[in-house]
Amino acid sequence: MLGFTRTRLLLIAASLTASLCWAASGWAPLADDGLHDPNGPGIRLLQQPGDALSNLPGDTAGNNVHWIPALQKGVIVPREKIGKDTPVRRYDRDVFLNLYGSMPAVRFPHKPHTEWLDCSNCHDQLFKPKAGANQISMFVILQGQQCGVCHGAVAFPLTECRRCHSVANDLAQRLAAEQAIADAQPDAHARLEQMRREASVPLLPSPKGTP
């Protein structure tokens, strides 16, 4: 009886250390990943995830790679198009969602998204391009729709709540209000620029000698 129990305990210990090994190494070798055929002819030729990914900025979820700084710091330089004439579209605007929920507000940043993705990956299929025009919900996201099309599949997983729910509600409310004020005056920047130019006229030497 005792020996039997000890065998069982050993098995438990063995499997625990086995899973700890997985957790510690981060990237499983292809031959043990449950997908690749360890007896197939291709396996020796393919690159091991750990060989490539361990050189990139680290993370604790998904591929264990922090992909945004990897791209922005130039550690990786992925091509943005193949065709010579394919347009490249970028957009830098934050949209604040869920300003009044029980969780902190969600900041959706267009900048890092459009560095990786094209507008057509989200607009208008997944989201209408208008703040507040979509009924986004955590329940639907967890079903693999809306943000969950990518997050939980290829982009960082949904366990990382605070990366989306990242801004205190009151701050997000103020930021959204400021954004609305700026939007209501599309020419505000142009007018400011004009004022500065006018104010500095006397200080500048006039190009053609006229005052």
Partner: protein, 128 residues
Amino acid sequence: MMPSGLRRIGIALACIGSFLTTPVFAEYADVVLNRMAEKEGMRPVIFPHWFHRIRFRCKVCHAELGFKMRAGSNLVTMGDIIDGKFCGACHNGNIAWAPENCDLCHSGKPGLPPGIFGGHDTNGPGRW
């Protein structure tokens, strides 16, 4: 004594079981394409997102080349690939090695269902 003993057996069985059923430790976002490959006598195809996103942004495949973002929703044939569509837009001996390297793409274990793998934390849309 009895309940804790039973529990230990349970845990032990669960551990052994998980080994017997070959647990999947696939790299996050690996995709299996197997709508036809195995029926036609080839191993399933494994597409590694991690490998490709080091070299290409999502928009290249999912906007320019028209891969729909839903595992199993793209009907890819070898004819398409040789004609320069889907994987063949790059695997043409120019941007990447040519389609004759069958075993590099057809590298999966027999019997894998199409879908996205590696979501050890959340399972991803293909699995919900």
